[in-house]
C-alpha cells in the first residue's frame, strides 16, 4: 500500500498541463461536479483532478506520473455504472476516456472492429449496420455507456442468453499498466497462448489497468426477430414457462420477466400495451432465419398458452417489436417515475429458485416497509429488484441499503451470486465476504498485487481488503453517502 500522495493538486495539474490541453485538466470543483458519481448517485466524492487525455501517449504519461507520485487513478467511461465503480477518489484523479471516441477500423470480412474505449456501445452497431453486422451485448444503457466501461464491467444485456456477455464478444484489448506500459492482450485469433488474461481483465472494474483499445467481434444481423409477450397470473407460472421454453430445446435471443410493479410502471411510461393486470410478464425474443423464427415462434406461443398465459401477443413488424421492447428497456427510468428514488440490485440465482426468492423478497419488502419492482433477465437468472424509496425521508436510504444487502445474501444462499453484470464497485464490497471466504479474497488480493502492487488503480473498489490494510478495513463505515439530488 502506498501512503497518501504528497503532491498538491496544483503541482499535479501543472505537470499534466505540460502535455495535455489545459482545458482538459479540470481542477475547479464546479467543472468537476458532473464527475462526482456514476449511475449510483447515492455515492459521491470529489476528486483531486479530472483529466481527459486525447492520445494513448498522454494516458501513458498520466499513468507514469501518478505511479511515481502514488496518486490513485479512477478510470471513467460514460459514468453509467451502477456500483459506484467510477466514483472518484478524494486523493486521486479521474481519468476520463471520453475523448477516445473513434471507431478505428471495421473489418467486415473478418467481422471485427477496432474501437477506442470511449465509443458508445450502440455506436458500434450503428457503424457496422451497413455491413449487415452488429455488436452483440446490448446493455439497456447502450445509448450512453462506453465499450471501455462494458469491458471493465463485463456487461451483459437482454440478448446475452444467446449471444453472451462482453467477455464472449471481444478478441483483443490494449491496456496501459499502472506503471504506464502498453500491453496488448489477446489477438485477432479466437485464443492466445498461455493463461487467459483477456478473461481476467474483462470485468476487472478498472482495478488492473486502463483499457485504451478494444477489438470486438461482430455478428451478422439476424434475418428476422420476433418477440412474444405473455402475461401470467402468477410469478410461479411465468417461471415455469421460462423453464418450459428451454426444455423444448429453444435458446431464445432474449427471455425477460417483469413483475406487477415493473409492468405497470413500464406500461405507463412506454405505452407498449402490456397487460397491467398480469402478475408477471414474459418477453421472449426468437431470432434467426425467417424459417427458424416462424417455427420457434409458433412453438413458444403454444407453449405459453399451454402453461397458463392469460395473454399472448407476438410482434408482427419491426416497429411493434421495438415498442414491446421499449417498455422493458426503459423499465429503470419508468420505475424512477413512480417513486422519488429507486435502488437497483443485480443478484443472480439458479432459475429454479425464482418463485422462492420472490416470495422471500416480498416478505422482506413488508418487513422494511419498502416496495420492490422486479425486472429479471429470466433466461440467465439475473434479478434486478428495484427497491423504491424516498431519500428525503431520514434513514430511508440506510434501510434500503440494508434491504438490498439482505437480497444479495439471499441470492448467495440459494446458490447464486451478488452481481450478475453491474459489478461490485463500492456498493457491493460489503457482500463480497458473503460470497467468498477469506482465502478466496486473499487470492483476489494477490491477483491485484500482481498488476498493481501499490493499489492505486481504483482503490477501495471491487476487492475488499481484509487484514493487510487497516485503513480500508473500515470501508463500509467510512464511505461517503450523500442523498441523491
Amino acid at each position: 500500500m502506498s501512503d497518501a500522495p504528497s503532491i498538491s493538486r496544483e503541482q499535479l495539474a501543472q505537470q499534466f498541463r505540460r502535455f495535455i490541453n489545459p482545458e482538459y485538466v479540470i481542477s475547479d470543483s464546479e467543472t468537476q461536479k458532473p464527475y462526482e458519481c456514476d449511475g449510483l448517485s447515492m455515492y459521491c466524492e470529489m476528486p483531486m483532478l479530472v483529466v481527459l487525455p486525447e492520445t494513448v501517449d498522454q494516458v501513458q504519461e498520466v499513468m507514469r506520473i501518478c505511479h511515481q507520485q502514488g496518486v490513485p487513478v479512477v478510470a471513467r467511461g460514460a459514468g453509467t455504472g451502477l456500483c459506484a465503480g467510477a466514483m472518484p477518489n478524494e486523493e486521486g484523479i479521474v481519468l476520463s476516456l471520453a475523448k477516445f471516441n473513434r471507431i478505428l477500423s471495421i473489418d467486415a470480412k473478418a467481422r471485427t472492429a477496432r474501437v477506442q474505449p470511449g465509443v458508445r456501445n450502440l455506436a458500434i452497431s450503428e457503424a457496422c449496420a451497413s455491413y449487415g453486422l452488429y455488436y452483440g451485448p446490448d446493455p439497456s444503457s447502450q445509448i450512453a455507456c462506453t465499450i471501455g466501461g462494458n469491458v471493465a464491467e463485463n456487461s451483459g444485456g437482454v440478448h446475452c442468453l444467446k449471444y453472451g456477455l462482453t467477455v464472449h464478444n471481444i478478441l483483443q484489448i490494449e491496456m496501459i499498466t499502472v506503471e504506464g506500459d502498453k500491453v496488448t492482450v489477446g489477438s485477432e485469433g479466437l485464443d492466445s497462448c498461455g493463461m487467459d488474461l483477456l478473461a481476467l481483465l474483462t470485468g476487472s472494474e478498472g482495478l488492473l489497468g486502463i483499457i485504451t483499445e478494444i477489438t470486438v467481434k461482430l455478428l451478422p444481423i439476424p434475418e428476422q426477430a420476433q418477440v412474444v409477450v405473455a402475461g401470467f397470473d402468477s410469478v410461479k407460472k411465468a417461471g415455469d414457462a421460462v423453464g418450459g421454453v428451454i426444455s423444448r430445446g429453444i435458446i431464445p435471443a432474449g427471455l425477460e420477466m417483469m413483475d406487477t410493479h415493473a409492468i405497470c410502471a413500464a406500461e405507463d411510461f412506454a405505452q407498449a400495451g402490456y397487460p397491467k393486470d398480469a402478475k408477471a410478464l414474459l418477453l421472449c425474443e426468437v431470432d434467426g432465419t425467417a424459417e427458424e423464427v416462424y417455427e420457434h415462434i409458433e412453438l413458444v406461443e403454444n407453449l405459453f398458452a399451454e402453461l397458463g398465459a392469460t395473454s399472448v401477443r407476438t410482434s408482427q413488424n419491426e416497429s411493434e417489436r421495438a415498442l414491446l421492447w421499449k417498455g422493458r428497456k426503459s423499465a429503470f427510468p419508468a420505475v424512477g417515475r413512480i417513486s422519488p428514488d429507486y435502488y437497483c440490485m443485480d443478484g443472480t440465482i439458479p432459475r429454479g429458485q425464482l418463485a422462492h426468492v420472490l416470495t422471500e423478497m416480498e416478505k422482506m419488502s413488508e418487513h422494511y416497509g419498502l416496495r420492490v419492482a422486479n425486472v429479471f433477465h429470466a433466461g440467465d437468472g439475473n434479478l434486478h429488484p428495484l427497491i423504491l424509496f424516498d431519500a428525503n425521508i431520514p434513514g430511508e436510504f440506510d434501510k434500503t441499503e440494508e434491504f438490498g444487502g439482505k437480497i444479495l445474501e439471499l441470492c448467495v444462499e440459494v446458490g447464486g451470486c451478488i452481481t450478475g453484470e453491474h459489478g461490485v464497485g463500492i456498493e457491493k464490497i460489503r457482500q463480497m465476504p458473503v460470497q467468498f471466504n477469506d482465502q478466496e479474497l486473499a487470492q483476489f488480493q494477490r491477483i491485484k498485487d500482481a498488476f498493481d502492487p501499490g493499489w492505486t488503480l481504483n482503490p477501495g473498489k471491487g476487492i475488499p481488503i481484509l487484514k493487510r490494510c487497516q485503513e480500508y478495513r473500515a470501508i463500509s463505515t467510512e464511505t461517503t453517502k450523500v442523498a441523491p439530488q
Binding site: T177, L190, D191, L197, T202, I221, G249, G288, H296, V424
Partner: protein
C-alpha cells in the same frame, strides 16, 4: 462418484513443504501438449463424477477428473450437449484437462469455447488452499474471473478440482455441405458465409475440399442448404468427430503439427508443408519441420499466434513467445497462485 479432494490437498501441501514439484495429470490424453517436464505426477482420474446436473437450468457441475465420455453420455440422455464439443484425444480425456488446455472442437467460432461455457471452478492453489470461484449461475461478475483465467494455463496455476459448465440443447438437425475448392477460395467463402445470418456451425478446408456444417431448426437448415453451393456429405458426423479428435489422415505420421490461431480472413502464408483450415479460418494446422521463430513471424502477420501442438522438439519453447511485459504479468500471477512453483513448472513456458 469419488471425491478425493482432501487427499489431493494433502499431497499439494506435502509437496510444497518438501520442495517437490507436481505434474498434474487428468486422463493423460494431452501429455503430448506443452513442454516436457520432470515432476511427480498428481493423478486426478479418481477424482470424478457428476455432482449435479439440472437440464432445465442448463447447468452441469462435475469433478475435474471426470472423463468427457461420461459427461457426454449423461447429456445425451437429455438431448443436451457440451456446445464447445471438446476434442477427445483418447478415451480418458477429462473435463479438467480440457479447460486447462483450452480445447474446443470445430464449432468453436459459433458455439463458443470451453472457457466461454465455464461458470465456476474449484481449485487447489499452491498454498494447498481449496478455493471456489464463480458458481452455478450464468452470470457472475463478483471478483476476478479466475475460472476463465485457467483456460490455457496448462495446470500452472493450480489443481482444478471441480468445474461448473453451461450446457445447451442439441440442434434439431445437422447437415454438412462439401465442395471442391482451393485454400485461398475456401477462406473467402468461409468468411463470406460466416457474415450471413445463417445457421452455420462449422467450416473446415481439408485436402482440396470445403466442408460447411449447418445446424438448427430443420426448416432453417434445409432452406440454407438449398441456397448454398456444395453437396450434402454422408457420414458427416464422423468427419467432424475425426477432425476434432485429430484422426483424419492429415493428422497421421510424425511430422510436427503447428497450430495457428489467427484472424479468420488472413491470407495463408506461403510455407513448406500442408495446411488444414478449421474454425472458419481462425484455426489453421500446418504439418512442417520448422523453427518456432520463423513460424512466430508468420502467425503475427496473420494477426495471431502459433504453437507447436504435437511432435517436434518439446524441450525448447513450444508456445508463441510473450513480450516481456506480459511475461512479467504472468509470472506475477503464477506467483500469486503458486508462490513456490509447485505446479507444472515449465510446462507452458520455460520461464513459468
Amino acid at each position: 462418484m469419488n471425491d478425493i479432494s482432501l487427499a489431493l490437498q494433502e499431497q499439494v501441501i506435502s509437496a510444497r513443504s518438501e520442495g517437490r514439484k507436481i505434474a498434474i495429470v487428468g486422463g493423460g490424453s494431452k501429455a503430448f501438449m506443452g513442454r516436457q517436464i520432470e515432476a511427480e505426477p498428481l493423478a486426478l482420474a479418481e477424482h470424478r463424477g457428476i455432482i449435479s446436473y439440472h437440464p432445465v437450468e442448463l447447468v452441469l457441475r462435475v469433478r475435474a477428473g471426470t472423463p468427457l465420455t461420461e459427461i457426454i453420455a449423461a447429456l445425451d440422455e437429455q438431448d443436451q450437449m457440451l456446445a464447445f464439443d471438446p476434442p477427445q484425444f483418447g478415451p480418458t480425456s477429462t473435463i479438467g484437462g480440457t479447460l486447462a488446455c483450452n480445447q474446443s472442437g470445430p464449432g468453436r467460432p459459433w458455439q463458443g469455447s470451453v472457457r466461454d461455457h465455464v461458470l465456476g471452478i474449484q481449485l487447489i492453489n499452491g498454498l494447498g488452499e481449496h478455493l471456489r470461484f464463480g458458481g452455478q449461475v450464468m452470470k457472475n461478475v463478483a471478483g476476478y474471473d479466475v475460472s476463465r483465467l485457467m483456460a490455457g494455463s496448462m495446470g500452472t496455476l493450480g489443481v482444478i478440482t471441480e468445474i461448473s459448465l453451461k450446457v445447451l440443447p442439441k440442434p434439431a438437425m445437422e447437415l454438412t455441405l462439401v465442395e471442391e475448392m482451393d485454400a485461398y477460395r475456401a477462406i473467402e467463402v468461409m468468411n463470406q458465409r460466416a457474415g450471413l445470418p445463417k445457421p452455420m456451425t462449422a467450416a473446415c478446408w481439408s485436402q482440396g475440399k470445403l466442408y460447411t456444417r449447418l445446424a438448427g431448426a430443420a426448416s432453417a437448415v434445409d432452406a440454407t442448404a438449398n441456397h448454398w453451393s456444395g453437396q450434402p456429405l454422408e457420414e458427416a458426423e464422423q468427419f467432424w468427430q475425426q477432425l476434432r479428435d485429430q484422426q483424419l489422415f492429415y493428422f497421421t505420421g510424425d511430422k510436427p503439427l503447428w497450430r495457428f490461431s489467427v484472424g479468420s480472413a488472413a491470407e495463408n502464408p506461403d510455407l513448406d508443408g500442408s495446411w488444414l483450415i478449421d474454425w472458419g479460418g481462425s484455426q489453421r494446422w500446418l504439418r512442417a519441420s520448422a523453427e518456432l521463430e520463423s513460424m512466430q513471424d508468420k502467425a503475427a502477420q496473420m494477426g495471431g499466434q502459433v504453437a507447436l501442438f504435437r511432435g517436434g522438439d518439446r524441450s525448447s519453447e513450444v508456445f508463441h513467445p510473450q513480450p516481456l511485459a506480459l511475461q512479467q504479468i504472468q509470472k506475477r500471477i503464477k506467483n500469486s497462485f503458486d508462490p513456490d512453483g509447485v505446479f507444472n513448472p515449465g510446462r507452458l513456458y520455460r520461464w513459468l
